[in-house]
Symmetry: C2
Subunit: 236 residues, 2 copies
């Protein structure tokens, strides 16, 4: 089967979709598509086959897709330096993350003012959108506003901390004990780890400390490990 | 506990270790260490605490480490463009790979002559060495010479192909059926996948096609997914 390029539409206008300016540029100048070329468009979690005409996107037909009820994962990650953050966002999107909650922790090195927060969020959203298109998702992970870790509240579902202190409660036994859960919120510490106070606060509001085993992973590798093993554990 | 820098020694000379030239540079100019500073040195899969004197490395004592008999993984990966290859090598080393076998497949885009092969191998070996130091391993993954995929032979242990054609035999059921194995050889296809002939050849010599599920992953994400789930499945 031919690999048809996928885009997320901003809007629908009768039998036409409205895309981002960047996407029109991509279609025209990067992919060099022509009239009558086909693309896939996602709108409101539905998938459509569309045809180009004068760089407008006309609906041909809706494509029926089997939607799986996957477990939802909210990744609560410290803001890291740009390259590491980009890697987390791109790979986490491929590996099926639903929500990303960037946080500032006690040991966070990256400091941000209001303006640079907005710039970061724009950058991160466009990385997630592009990765969603590449990996043929029907949705784009939601990125929450950057907040302080200590403002995190207990949430529905399974609440986990990837701890470097906990030695016994390993992620495999823990997930296998909770096979019926439908949502997981996971806190990942920064380089240097969470402080004792941070981990204690999270434990108090219901987050459970687990260990990922004896390997020493870089911070940016942890989300990829976690999303892989969650996908694996709940694979049918 | 203080995080002590770890290095792999090239040689041992009585009560002294000989390191790579790069490592002396790292100790002196990057870490700016001084006389009496401590480092960890791995030699012949043993770990030693050492003390610096005039930038020579003197053994203080041997550190006893519990060695786990982890399952051995040989990753048979197509040679990809530099950035992707670097990511695979660094992250696979963190995630515990034992051997990497770079191969040229029918659909490989990267072409290499003899000279550039040697240059690549040197680069790759130094990435794996550095990642092994960072993640406190006692060994460095072995990188085999670059060969053609069609020269791959059946090997001891479990032989797997990450297939985009196989739809039913998923990695989870497959690994759970083979919990007693101690070595896994995994072939990963390039962008565009293995050709039908390549997959057929591998099947004939005993490689079994498995699917990683319904997600669409970039080639460089596949090894990270696999090593994570193998680590998880065999976690104790």
């Amino acid at each position: 089967m031919v690999n048809v390029q996928r885009y997320f539409a901003k809007n629908k206008d009768n039998n036409k979709f409205i895309l981002d300016t960047n996407d029109y540029h991509h279609i025209k100048n990067v992919m060099r598509m022509k009239d009558d070329d086909l693309i896939e468009v996602v709108y409101d979690k539905n998938l459509y086959l569309c045809k180009l005409n004068n760089y407008e996107v006309f609906i041909e037909n809706k494509i029926e897709v089997e939607i799986k009820n996957n477990i939802k994962v909210n990744l609560i990650v410290p803001v890291l330096q740009e390259q590491k953050m980009d890697l987390i966002l791109q790979k986490s999107t491929e590996l099926g993350v639903d929500m990303i909650t960037p946080v500032i922790t006690e040991r966070s090195i990256v400091k941000l003012d209001g303006k640079s927060k907005i710039k970061k969020l724009n950058r991160w959203n466009s990385i997630c959108k592009e990765a969603s298109e590449q990996s043929k998702r029907l949705d784009i992970p939601k990125i929450n506003n950057i907040d302080k870790l200590k403002n995190i509240k207990k949430q529905d579902g399974l609440n986990i901390i990837c701890s470097t202190k906990e030695l016994n409660n390993n992620i495999r036994f823990f997930l296998q004990k909770h096979k019926t859960c439908d949502k997981i919120n996971i806190v990942i510490g920064p380089e240097g780890g969470l402080t004792d106070e941070e981990e204690k606060y999270l434990n108090e509001i219901g987050f459970i400390s687990v260990t990922l085993g004896s390997r020493i992973l870089r911070v940016e590798t942890v989300p990829l490990f976690l999303l892989s093993v969650i996908d694996y554990e709940f694979m049918e």
